[in-house]
């Protein structure tokens, strides 16, 4: 996992800027210094000095997002207070041909907000006002920097909330949620960010105002909302979002069920869905993960079980009673060895405490972990877990597993020590193996964390050259000069060609004895 600055851009041409052609040269360094003063001079006409950061000690906090293994100093960090400033910054950067990386709370897990060494990081955290909540129409109009949980907090007095709940919801911003199409543990029933957003306002790379969707349930023309949602800041800069609010369910109840084998747990997931039940949440933890979180939260998890399922129902009191009864019957029929239904809210939250703390608990198991995010058809969960088990032997690293089982979205956490370059490398191979196995099972390399810089190579496996070519053309349709977050999400053809060669010439790989596909 090299830092972004240490290698030349694949396919860089001599006519490209010096920092692309030969990033470590004195010529590149000088060119960057010159460009920095040029950009600062242009932006100083728009922003007060305190809103422009450029000294290394000031910009260091912006070097990475939640994927800390990738770091890069930005040329300049711009922190606008309002939309007019956003528009002007974009216009200036466009005129100067300077890349712009929009950034929300910086909690992303795939390096989507990794700075560009010759670009401006546009921190939108200060656009954090909730403009309007419509209690009758159940919508909220919020600026992009508003935190996910702050929307639900503001809507709570009206008995409403914003349904998508990524685990970083205390900190992550709605603008970032749009960029990643964030999910959470309630997606199967309540949808992803896409399903809970009506209207997105923002600016094109040229700084022109643009609106996708509308406050109505549809808008004229092509529906571009699904392109912009999940586009990782590459199509437009989002400044204001109209979200749909959901009535808070009267009651939520959770079943914790134990299974003796991974296979029976996987089958139980299919049985639930097959019975016509759409649980509010359906999560699976394997035995090592359960042990880790029990040690962390002491929630009374069954440490003997090969897998634990958390199955939640919400709605009216009558609805929940009916659904919990049906869920229990299905789980019993599927061979659950132990079933516990939460008696009250405190117990329900205790059931969830482990799941919600899966990441920090894993931090206690090992100096570092790498979280994967692929999605597979639900019916192949057990097969996938077995495959991961055998990869543990293959790569000599441990892996603990939590799944959004209802969505088929996996979060295997590969444990390693980043200070050991060999472990880091094996971890990367392990991760790529999981992603490729997921694609071969009919799944996708990213369910909710995005591609960013982390999964660029895996995109080469999932999509053909013509499909990737079309995605690059979509990027240019929105941003002809390719200045918005360049180099993320969709790999260049050259990059995939390089990656393809690595696969073909296995003898060249650092671990030629590792069995691959």
């Amino acid at each position: 996992m090299a830092t972004a600055s240490s290698t030349a851009r694949p396919g860089a041409k001599p006519a490209d800027p010096p920092w692309d052609v030969d990033p470590d040269s004195a010529r590149a360094a000088a060119a960057l210094v010159a460009r920095q003063s040029q950009v600062l001079a242009a932006l100083a006409r728009i922003l007060p000095a305190e809103s422009l950061l450029y000294r290394h000690e000031d910009t260091v906090a912006f070097e990475c997002d939640g994927l800390t293994a990738y770091r890069q100093s930005p040329l300049v960090v711009a922190m606008p207070h309002n939309e007019e400033q956003v528009a002007q910054i974009l216009q200036q950067c466009h005129d100067l041909g300077v890349p712009v990386v929009a950034r929300g709370a910086g909690t992303g897990l795939s390096g989507g907000a990794l700075p560009h060494r010759a670009g401006v990081t546009l921190s939108l955290a200060r656009l954090n006002r909730i403009r309007h909540i419509d209690p009758l129409g159940r919508t909220a109009v919020v600026q992009c920097g508003v935190r996910n949980l702050a929307i639900s907090e503001a809507a709570a007095p009206l008995g409403l909330y914003y349904a998508p709940d990524p685990s970083s919801q205390i900190a992550c911003s709605i603008g970032g949620n749009i960029a990643e199409n964030s999910g959470g543990v309630h997606c199967l029933k309540y949808g992803l960010t896409l399903h809970n957003v009506l209207c997105i306002r923002g600016y094109t790379a040229e700084g022109e105002s643009v609106q996708f969707g509308s406050a109505a349930l549809d808008a004229p023309g092509l529906d571009l909302v699904p392109l912009v949602v999940g586009s990782e800041g590459m199509l437009a800069v989002v400044t204001e979002v109209t979200v749909r609010l959901t009535p808070k369910p009267q009651l939520a109840q959770c079943i914790m069920a134990s299974f003796e084998t991974i296979e029976t747990a996987g089958a139980a997931v299919a049985d639930i869905i097959g019975a016509g039940i759409v649980p509010a949440g359906l999560e699976l933890m394997d035995k090592p993960m359960t042990a880790a979180v029990e040690n962390f939260v002491h929630a009374g998890y069954d440490l003997e079980a090969a897998a634990i399922l958390l199955c939640e129902s919400d709605g009216t009191i009558e609805e929940v009673a009916e659904e919990i009864g049906r869920m229990r019957a299905v789980l019993e029929g599927s061979g659950a060895t132990r079933i516990e239904v939460s008696r009250d809210e405190a117990q329900r939250l205790r059931f969830w405490s482990g799941r919600k703390n899966a990441f920090p608990a894993s931090g206690g198991l090992s100096p570092d972990y790498m979280c994967m995010d692929s999605t597979i058809p639900r019916r192949r969960l057990a097969e996938m877990l077995r495959a991961i088990e055998s990869m543990e032997g293959k790569y000599g690293l441990r892996c603990v597993n939590v799944f959004h089982a209802g969505d088929g979205n996996l979060h295997p956490l590969i444990l390693f020590d980043a200070n050991d370059p060999d472990q880091l490398h094996r971890c990367e191979l392990f991760g790529a193996d999981i992603l490729e196995t997921s694609v071969h099972m009919g799944g996708t390399v990213s369910g909710e964390h995005g591609v960013g810089v982390e999964k660029l190579n895996s995109m080469c496996v999932q999509f053909s050259a013509v499909e990737r070519e079309l995605m690059l053309a979509i990027k240019r349709a929105f941003d002809p000069a390719e200045l918005l977050n360049p180099g993320k999400a969709v790999p260049t053809l050259q990059r995939c060609a390089e990656y393809g060669k690595m696969h073909v010439h296995r003898g060249m790989m650092p671990f030629p004895d590792l069995p691959r596909f």
Binding site: L192, L194, D218, L224
Partner: protein
């Protein structure tokens, strides 16, 4: 590539070479909608059949020319459905046409639209390349979400070959109640009930009567029906009558829609923020989606209808019977129009697919 797809791809390449327009065609049930179809037909009807259906995955994958009726029958057998209730004009529609038209029925406001259920597609682009986007899984953020953009695209980007859709279970119970309310009260009431988590799956107001369909868990439907009837005078419809009512509404067989538009009148579809108070619409009005979709027959000029919709934060579509079909859809802001043009060029460089169907310049 199978033989039918290969033949379609060949036809596309031939047309692209001569920049000759193609009209992507399923059953033709929505020929009335959008700009007048032009060009040689690209017949999708032979590309039919369900490719895979896994009820435990809540996913069905079928080829574009598969009749909607065939898909719905397969789903019904397993207690699942197309929750967005797409209209079946004349009972002939195909799956590909359903996605391309992007029209949803009475349940739209509560469950989402066509695009919300699209999980993946394979698409023949303007070069005759078969491309795949999305997949058969619920969550997928790898690359741009091209598959969902095709919902409502009216075929201007390419010919859908295959679609995967999320297919949720049908509600365990349903009950339709009818209330005597004026339009303003009906809109407010539908919104308030939804805010109170009353499981309203569909609503429709016409000529002083609000039909509300509760759907969901048995306990929730029963308790809420009792609750609503206790606070408001309501009539409960018999299950057969209720099913017929919603099916007619969905397929535009309801008395309001039936038959060709009256002389010189256009059927306008006004989409506005659902809670918006009644609009000053010049004619008999039918309100769906808790207020989000309002239908009116009128001979008022398009500019008048568009202004009314825009003032309310929405847009107006000349759905059927417009004198000028090229102006079916509301115009776009300049930045959006430029993006549309460039997207069209990316998908269909020779500009052959469904020319003028969405906009005259596309």
């Amino acid at each position: 590539m199978d033989a039918v797809v290969t033949r379609l791809a060949d036809q596309i390449r031939g047309a692209a070479a001569g920049a000759a327009p193609l009209c992507i065609r399923g059953s033709g049930s929505k020929d009335f909608y959008g700009g007048v179809p032009v060009g040689a037909p690209l017949e999708m009807g032979e590309l039919r059949g369900i490719c895979s259906y896994e009820p435990t995955e809540m996913v069905i994958t079928a080829r574009a020319g598969t009749p909607l009726a065939e898909v719905e029958a397969a789903l019904a057998e397993k207690g699942q459905c197309l929750a967005f209730e797409p209209p079946r004009f004349g009972g002939k529609g195909t799956l590909g046409g359903m996605v391309a038209a992007g029209l949803a029925g009475p349940a739209r406001a509560s469950v989402g639209g066509v695009r919300d259920f699209v999980l993946g597609v394979s698409l023949l682009d303007g070069r005759g390349e078969l491309l795949q986007f999305g997949g058969q899984v619920m969550k997928n953020v790898a690359g741009y979400d091209v598959s969902r953009v095709l919902a409502g695209s009216l075929g201007v980007l390419g010919a859908i070959a295959e679609v995967s859709l999320k297919v949720p279970p049908v509600g365990a119970a349903r009950q339709t109640l009818v209330f005597d309310l004026d339009q303003g009260a009906a809109i407010v009431q539908a919104q308030q009930w939804t805010s109170l988590a009353v499981p309203i799956r569909a609503s429709a107001w016409h000529q002083g009567r609000l039909h509300v369909r509760l759907e969901g868990a048995l306990a929730a439907v029963e308790s809420n029906a009792v609750r609503l009837c206790a606070s408001h005078a309501a009539t409960a419809l018999e299950p057969e009558a209720a099913a017929a009512y919603w099916s007619d509404l969905r397929d535009h067989e309801h008395a309001f829609f039936r038959g060709p538009p009256p002389d010189g009148q256009t059927l306008w579809r006004i989409a506005v923020p659902p809670a918006h108070p009644p609009l000053d619409l010049p004619g008999d009005t039918l309100v769906e989606w808790g207020g989000g979709q309002r239908w009116v027959f009128s001979d008022a000029p398009a500019s008048h209808m568009r202004a009314i919709a825009e003032r309310a934060g929405g847009h107006a579509t000349a759905f059927r019977g417009a004198p000028e079909r090229a102006e079916t859809f509301a115009p776009l802001q300049p930045a959006l129009e430029r993006i549309h043009r460039r997207l069209k060029a990316a998908f269909d460089p020779a500009g052959i697919f469904n020319r003028g169907r969405l906009y005259p310049w596309l």
